[in-house]
């Protein structure tokens, strides 16, 4: 059933494109909900074997080259499909006000969502790469057409970075493909088969960093993260939500599923470097966020910082670290989407500014109490306060990393303090400032609409649930991780 996440979303995308203008929004919501439904169904399914990457569909595609249309699922896939579904539904809800060319807007949006489902479910390297690259172009048009600040620059930068990362991934995948062909494998693109193949160490040593770097670009790895803040800021609200919520996870997921799994020895050789880059990313991005005045830039850099945790968790190469990394992908997907939704959809269209100092004049805690409450919850989750999903993720990453990189953990602790600092600064500046209210218009800000409330409540509920009962996710993630090559040398 979970394969229907992909089909329903793509069918929905084309239906939206061809439908009359007034139907586009409801149709898009239906399509997003259908995907969400199938992902929830998969997440709570009793028939799916979460512990093993199990094939659910396999059709020959290009037999001459050993390509198959092959989908598979395990606990990690269902977790990430779920976050994709959640983000998709909420991003449609938060773009309810799109007036300009809504058909095209929702078409591109659903293409991003459908491609992401495809990446999380692919078990064939070529199919994986098709879906991975499919996401690039819709992002460009979403940002360039419906974006805000400096949109054409941001869109082009993001697209070229993604494509650059894709090119590196391409080389890595080719290396695996050709390596498997030379080793005599009959299905040289089948991930489940490739995992059991032992590639020569020389190949692993050069192919792993290329592959990982390629995925790292999309995951916002320092120093290739610069597309993320500008892209997030330039994007329309739904675009930022998708970028932070799903697209950055595609890179992290690829690094985990493909790079680590195929080239474990290369990973062991290079993981120190990954840890170093991850720690630098966490601290650097948090420090930069502390100096931003534009709220979207603050959140954009915080995304980079949080994705640093994912990479650190991967570099730890322990069960706890990897589990925490996957949890953090889920958690940040929800939190990042919520933060961008509040700033981009709830605040900006009403105040016409995202500058922290300008916002302080609006007395938003009174003018928009719902937005203030939502932002407090999102900030708490983002800072890693116990009881929210961010805490469960980051604590298990840090514990998992402690045995390998104690110094890294200590430096990361400083980074977490910085995260708290910039989050509190944004929170206080934008919502709870001491300044007397100077903007007279503040009293008559339009109220928060129903779709916005629904979307925000969905996201807040998920981060709370995952924070209060993280076992729900770990029960699915950890068995799948135990099956990884890394732990069976």
């Amino acid at each position: 059933m979970i394969a229907w996440t992909i089909y329903s979303t793509f069918v929905g995308a084309f239906a939206v494109l061809l439908a009359p203008r007034t139907w586009s929004r409801p149709l898009a919501l239906v399509a997003a909900f259908a995907g969400f439904f199938f992902s929830v169904e998969g997440f709570f399914s009793r028939t799916i074997d979460f512990a093993h990457f199990t094939t659910i569909v396999r059709l020959p595609w290009v037999p001459v080259l050993g390509m198959n249309y092959q989908l598979a699922v395990d606990g990690i896939s269902v977790t990430l499909c779920l976050v994709t579904g959640i983000t998709a539904v909420s991003s449609v809800l938060f773009s309810w006000d799109v007036q300009e060319r809504p058909n095209e807007f929702f078409f591109w949006l659903l293409l991003v969502v459908g491609g992401s489902y495809g990446v999380f479910l692919s078990a064939d390297l070529f199919l994986f790469f098709v879906f991975y690259e499919l996401v690039i172009i819709p992002k460009y048009f979403l940002i360039a057409t419906w974006g805000s600040t400096n949109r054409e620059y941001g869109a082009m930068k993001l697209t070229l970075y993604s494509f650059f990362g894709g090119a590196l991934v391409f080389i890595g995948i080719l290396a695996a493909y050709v390596g498997a062909q030379k080793a005599g494998s009959l299905s040289p693109l089948d991930l489940q088969q490739l995992v059991h193949l032992r590639f020569p160490v020389e190949l692993q040593n050069w192919a792993f960093p290329v592959l990982f770097l390629g995925f790292g670009v999309l995951a916002g790895m320092w120093p290739f993260h610069t597309w993320a803040p500008t892209g997030h800021v330039a994007a329309p609200t739904a675009g930022s939500m998708l970028l932070a919520g799903i697209v950055m996870k595609l890179g992290a997921y690829g690094a985990l599923r493909v790079a680590l799994n195929l080239f474990p020895q290369g990973f062991q050789m290079w993981r120190h470097w990954i840890a170093i880059l991850a720690v630098i990313g966490i601290v650097y991005a948090a420090a930069v966020a502390l100096r931003q005045r534009d709220l979207k830039f603050v959140i954009g850099y915080s995304s980079v910082s949080h994705m640093g945790f994912v990479l650190l968790g991967l570099a730890a190469a322990t069960g706890l670290g990897l589990g925490g990394a996957v949890f953090q992908m889920f958690s940040h997907g929800v939190i990042g989407a919520l933060l961008f939704a509040i700033v981009g959809r709830m605040i900006y269209p009403r105040t016409h500014t995202r500058d922290i100092y300008e916002l302080s004049k609006f007395n938003l805690k009174v003018a928009l109490p719902f937005a203030a409450v939502a932002f407090v919850i999102a900030s708490a989750a983002s800072m890693g306060i116990p009881g929210f999903s961010g805490f469960a993720a980051e604590i298990s990453i840090l514990i998992g990393t402690w045995t390998s990189y104690p110094v890294g953990v200590v430096i990361t602790g400083i980074g977490m303090a910085l995260v708290a600092a910039f989050t509190l600064r944004a929170l206080k500046g934008a919502f709870f400032s001491d300044q007397p209210q100077v903007e007279p218009a503040a009293a008559v800000l339009p109220p928060i609409t129903l779709p916005e409330k629904c979307g925000a409540i969905l996201l807040m509920g998920v981060t709370l649930c995952a924070g209060v009962y993280p076992q729900l996710l770990f029960d699915r993630i950890n068995p799948a991780l135990r099956d990884f090559r890394l732990f069976h040398p």
Partner: protein
Amino acid sequence: MNYADLFKLSLPETTVVVTALIVLTIGLTNRRRTGLCTLIACAGIVVAAFSFNWMPRSANFAEGMLVVSPLGSLFQIICLALAFFAVLLATHDNALADRAEFIAVLLFATIGLMLLISSDEFLMIFLGLELTGLSLYVMAGFNRRDARSAEAGLKYFLFGSTASAFTLFGLSLIYGTFGSTNLALIASSIFTAPLQPMFAAGIVMALIGFFFKVAAAPFHLWAPDTYQGSPTTSAAFIASASKVASFFVLGKIVLAGFPDLGGSAAWHGLLAGWKPVVAVTAALSILVGNFGALAQSDVRRLLAYSAVAHAGYTLLGLIAGGPSGFSATLFYSATYAFTLVGAFGVVGVVERQTGGTAFENFRDLRSRSPFLTACMTLFLLSLAGLPPLPGFFGKFYLFSVAIHSGAASTALLWLVALALFGSLVSLYYYLSVLKVMLVGKKEWETASVWHPRVPEGLAVGALAIIVALLGVFPNLLLARIAAALS
């Protein structure tokens, strides 16, 4: 030697010749009946394509003068299909004053291409090359009222005839070495002879003519002006069918004729042979084409420079060698040809409506014609190599055979990395066109929507469907190529 046999084996070519003569006669007797000419030309092409059913699957006439093979038939049909679409595009091309004459010349060029594909004999190959060339020179300069069309024709002619001279000289050197113009005979006698300087010079010179045809750098200088100045239909045909056939022959000569004289193009491991020559040309083409295209502000010129880059990618398959390398080259050039004819179809409509092909003429195309915009988006994204379009699959295939070919998987990595870098650059300029079309805004004087004429619309729509199908199901074409090659 039996003329009945000859007629039977050259049934498609004969059909096209007869069609061309009928069209020419009608055009001479009554200048207004261009619709009838189009109809007859289309019917003739369809009959020629179906006549392959009545031919033996493989045959060899007069020691390689005329060879029928499954692969050759497949690519002759592809050339016929491209000619078919070109005829459809020609129906409303305002640059063509005498349409019947144009269609006849187009059909003559098609015959040349079919001969190129169906011969294993250097003399016949050269004849095909010349027949195609002469027809294409005429087509490029067909618009007699436009100085730029004359410029296009003249440039194409001057460069082309020089390249042909080189090729002829090269072929004569090869003949001098082996005493034969038959590809199979040469291939079998190569084992006994080492690589002599005269023979090496012969190969390199013979290759030049084909590099010119496929617009590989540094023999590409005609391309921008010819693509820009010649009538849209001519440009579409020059850029597509002529390239497919040339890649076919190029591959046939180097891979079937001199497979063991390739040498090696590996990084730090260059060995004398034709592979280093092709590799240098490919690398130059990728760089010159992509960086040249970056500076363009006219869609036709941009397509010309990007064609140079695509020629570079396509050559990678030949360097990789072997049946899989050849099939990668053929798949890529065929899908590229369909894509480019479609793109030129859209360019033609835009040119007629706005009077130019600069980026500005494409501004806000989406509000004028969503259909053309959707098709053009498809074509350009395929050229940029994005999934799920054939350009993406073709590149994956080309690059994987290139990596697979060397003894070490890093042997040709330098070329693949360069090609990937080129694709990254190309994404920027393709996106620039798409941005103007889809994102740009413009105040229009009238609110009317453009409707492409029926034949044009049919051709562009059919090509878009072909391109989309080949992207999602590459096996449709690839399985046929692979079956024919094995």
